[in-house]
Symmetry: C2
Subunit: 190 residues, 2 copies
DNA sequence: TTGGCAATTTACTAACTAGTAAGTAAAATA
DNA sequence: TATTTTACTTACTAGTTAGTAAATTGCCAA
């Protein structure tokens, strides 16, 4: 059982990395199998279909995010630090072989992924946006963030630019991504 | 020759739409062939490889953008109107069956497209960013845009959020995209 | 020690992929 | 009118895809 859990987790880890690197339709069972040194039927044992594998990846990603934001080490942070933590997630993705945001990757492939994955993508995106909007509102009430209009509107701008920024950085380099983050900090804090 | 041009142009048009809808690896020669009522060998006659087809699509897209921005009807516009024109391009994509930006689509698939397409993607992205940065700088000098820091930095924020906003809208709806555009207008003009 | 279960491999399939070679009908050219 | 070129079609290939059924291995409990 412990060995099976290892394989299953290894498959999930690799599938997640591949989705952020090549997209859901950009990798195959053969990629995973050869990388892990197993046969592709082994993957089908743990995940009956590619749709199920993709769904499990997004579900785990969502669970992890909820675990983080509900953990005191993030939850009890002041708004500025919360936002820096959030930006840090994306900076880490960029540093990790130029990965892009899982939500952005799935949205780009939205019209060529199974329906259940589209639903997962919507749920994930909603969760990211809700947390960000709440954090922005908290910071504005505390007088540390400065912006006009609905917090959800500002949150959608920030989230979309982080997603887009990771993609832009693939074409124009990491500096482009950091420029996005720095510009946001200036816009919000000044 | 006129008939050939028609087929060739129809292939390019459809390939461009498919790349913005499903991504470069999300469509096949069979899609194009059946839609146009020709055999897939006919596509290979006009474009020897899928790589060549994709390259031609991006090249035409780049040429079209340069033609637009150098045309007096855009070039002689005041900065605010120029920016509105630019935003309008993206709004039109969203309205056209939820297409995403070609550059964003290719960047997401960056690690699973041929090298020549990566080069085309870089060139396209550079051209979009340069024009936007120049327009922002022009507007700031004219006193109509208000932002701090390097214009290229602000341009990378706006471009990445437009790209990301079109993707976000697939998951959360068109309102999300318009929220991004409206927030930018407020941030810049107030 | 034996029966059973979990995890895996072997061996396969059907569908789809881009790409090719050879042939054809019609139009342009000489 | 003869020849060449353009714009295709027919018919095919080799490789890849997700997915499946059946056999096999290794551990664990009765």
């Amino acid at each position: 059982m412990s060995k099976s859990s290892n394989t299953k987790r290894a498959i999930l880890n690799l599938a997640e990395a591949l989705m952020q690197d090549k997209g859901f339709n950009g990798f195959s069972y053969a990629h995973i199998a050869s990388e892990l040194g197993v046969k592709n039927a082994a993957i089908h044992y743990h995940f009956p279909s590619k749709e199920a594998l993709g769904g499990a990846v997004v579900q785990r990603y969502r669970d992890r995010f909820q675990l983080w934001v509900n953990n005191p080490s993030v939850k009890d942070l002041p708004p500025v630090k919360k936002l820096e933590w959030f930006f840090g997630i994306y900076s880490d993705m960029r540093a990790d072989k130029g990965k892009v945001c899982l939500a952005g990757s799935l949205e780009t492939e939205f019209n060529v992924i199974p329906e259940s994955l589209r639903a997962q993508t919507k749920a994930l995106t909603n969760e990211l946006l809700s947390w960000l909007a709440a954090t922005l509102e908290e910071g504005r009430r505390a007088g540390v963030f400065h912006f006009t209009g609905d917090p959800t509107r500002k949150a959608s701008l920030i989230l979309s630019s982080l997603q887009g920024g990771l993609q832009l950085a693939r074409a124009l380099g990491t500096d482009m991504f950091h420029a996005v983050v720095e510009q946001h900090k200036q816009d919000l804090l000044v």
